[in-house]
Amino acid sequence: MSSLHLHQLCKHYGSVKAVDHVSLHATAGSRLAIVGPSGSGKTTLLRMIAGFEFPDSGSISLNGQTLAADGRALPAHLRRIGYVAQDGALFPHLTVADNIGFGLTDKGHARQQRIAELVEMVALDQHMLQRWPHELSGGQQQRVALARALAQQPQLMLLDEPFSALDTGLRAAMRQMVAQLLGEAGISAILVTHDQAEALSFADQLAVMRQGRLIQSGTPQQLYSQPADETTALFLGEALILPAQVKAGQAQCALGEIAVNDGQFCGAGRIMLRPEQLTLQAEAGAASAVMAQVVECDFGGHSSLLSLRLPELASPLQLRSASWPLPARGSMVALTVQGRAHLLPA
């Protein structure tokens, strides 16, 4: 099966382990996002796949072709892997047309034709072709960079935080366009980002890295609802983490008795709930509801951050909730939990 395999990849810089025994597998046509805080080794991993860096040990293969193994490696220019850098990395001495055509071997009319097609693909105007990179906006530069990489008909597209320099609105639009474009062309993609929202929306497969290690990989839904640890849980979104007594798939905690996704575990543990699992009501409707007092209410537009005091909890519980209806400070609210809690590994 054609796909990307990383096996036990390691890369050291001096005594720093930038990438530490990472194994990963991505199927063809999939979109993989690698997320992690800065310095987690995600960019180094990407650069090793691109061929800009060579692993100290471990192997990389793509569609059955070995790219690196046993301390030997295939140089970047022979890999046919597209790469879009954070700032686009357009060649400042070449026009848009020449940037896009940089890797093309076609000459004359065929070349013009191809460049025009590529510009069309990334939804840029034809009249942009004679412009210089410094005359383009950030979003336009990224489109040119993408078109340039697509010209290679790459087997795999690597995206190194390509949207991070763009405005919030533009970022989402670009992300969607890129995802769609790559999907249509059937090109697998790997996106490196420190923005979890971007990763969750772009990818059909997610990998979380920290301190050079691969912490967890799987579908976005899997990782979001069943993170491997507390840090990952918080990295991927807001979460309520509560101590609990677990027994036979039920957790006893400050929010009452909640079902957990682990039937075997027995004893004291920590459970995670996503805020959207909690429903807030002015008065107790269901029997399972727990009453809490609103200590603080930080208004924040469409959602607000509430501090809730629960009888069994020493410090208030922070909970983001829809701003309407907004409970008054000091009022009592009823909390109901939907679905199961995720039991965090000890």
Partner: protein, 337 residues
């Protein structure tokens, strides 16, 4: 806006063309190479006359006597030079003593007055020049002039005279002094000179300073005065020449020499060049053009404006005994260099 890459291409092309051109900058192998310490303009006239007559190409490297003499000695058997021309004798003696000169053709030797070629040795005089004391007419009367070169060491001359100690001309004068009076006397005189004299770079500059009343007088060769007089005279109009005569060290007549290198690969052409310089063509240039150096060819006439050579009562010194290295050593010791 032109694309930077085309601009780069243009610049590279331009530079590449220039670079390719520079490969041919070195002189071609044909013809002869003359190491010339004589005045550039005089040698240029000789070379032009010679090439015009014989069609032999001459490449000239200009420098000064001791520099080139020492250079040839260091270069040894693989010197690129074919001919060596000096302003003064000591540098030629240096090369001769190193056994680097080829015997000259008898025809060349026969053209030169025996008084102006060394008794022994493999070189020949090509021109001669006399030591003079150039002085400012407004500052010195004839009675106040020094009677001898040695007088300039006296305290009353402190700060009043100048010379060009780094130049080969003055060093030749010192070498004659060394030959006449010995090492101790010469060193003493040089040390006095260090105190008394102002050092200049070049004889013409000394004369210019005398003319401008910066100093009363200076020790130079005669032809600087005549050369300037023949042009505008602006650097010599306040000056006159004093000849020491009486076989004084200051009456020294210095011999410019010419020799063919033993290592020359173009001996025939080199011999022809010296034959031409010492022959009628070369010696006539001394009379007619404005070098104002004395002709040394048998029967050759010097410029009529000059005081005849035989009237100068110069000391009899064997040019082949002048020692340039010892001279420089003594001058270095005296702090003049």
């Amino acid at each position: 806006m032109s694309s930077p890459s085309t601009r780069f291409a243009k610049i590279s092309l331009l530079l590449a063309t220039l670079f390719a051109g520079s490969a041919h900058a070195a002189p071609s192998a044909e013809g002869i190479v003359v190491y010339n310490a004589q005045h550039e303009s005089l040698t240029k006239s000789w070379v032009e006359g010679f090439t015009k007559e014989t069609g032999i190409k001459v490449t000239v490297r200009n420098g000064s006597d001791s520099e080139m003499g020492n250079q040839i000695v260091q270069e040894g058997a693989s010197s690129p030079a074919d001919v060596f021309l000096t302003e003064n004798s000591p540098a030629m003696v240096l090369v001769d003593n190193a056994k680097l000169l080829a015997p000259l053709s008898p025809a060349t030797l026969a053209q030169v007055d025996p008084a102006y070629r060394p008794a022994q040795g493999k070189w020949v005089g090509i021109a001669a020049r006399s030591t003079v004391f150039v002085y400012n007419k407004n500052r010195l009367t004839p009675q106040e002039l020094p009677k001898s070169l040695l007088d300039l060491a006296k305290p009353e001359w402190k700060g009043r005279w100048g010379a060009a100690p780094a130049g080969a001309d003055f060093q030749a004068i010192v070498s004659a002094l060394l030959e006449q009076k010995g090492e101790a006397a010469t060193l003493a005189w040089l040390k006095a000179m260090k105190t008394n004299a102002l050092p200049y770079k070049g004889n013409s500059v000394v004369m210019k300073a005398v003319n401008a009343s910066q100093i009363d007088g200076g020790v130079i060769y005669h032809y600087y005065y005549f050369g300037d007089q023949s042009k505008t005279g602006e650097n010599s109009k306040n000056t006159a020449l004093h000849y020491f005569k009486h076989q004084d060290p200051g009456a020294f007549v210095s011999l410019s020499g010419g020799g063919v290198l033993a290592s020359s690969k173009h001996k025939e052409e080199a011999q022809a060049f010296l034959k031409w310089v010492t022959g009628k063509g070369g010696q006539d240039i001394l009379r007619t053009e404005n070098s104002f150096e004395y002709a040394v060819g048998l029967g050759a006439q010097s410029n009529p404006k000059l005081v005849p050579l035989k009237n100068l009562d110069a000391p009899k010194i064997d040019a082949s005994r002048l020692n340039s290295r010892k001279t420089v050593e003594l001058m270095t010791q005296a702090g003049l260099l």
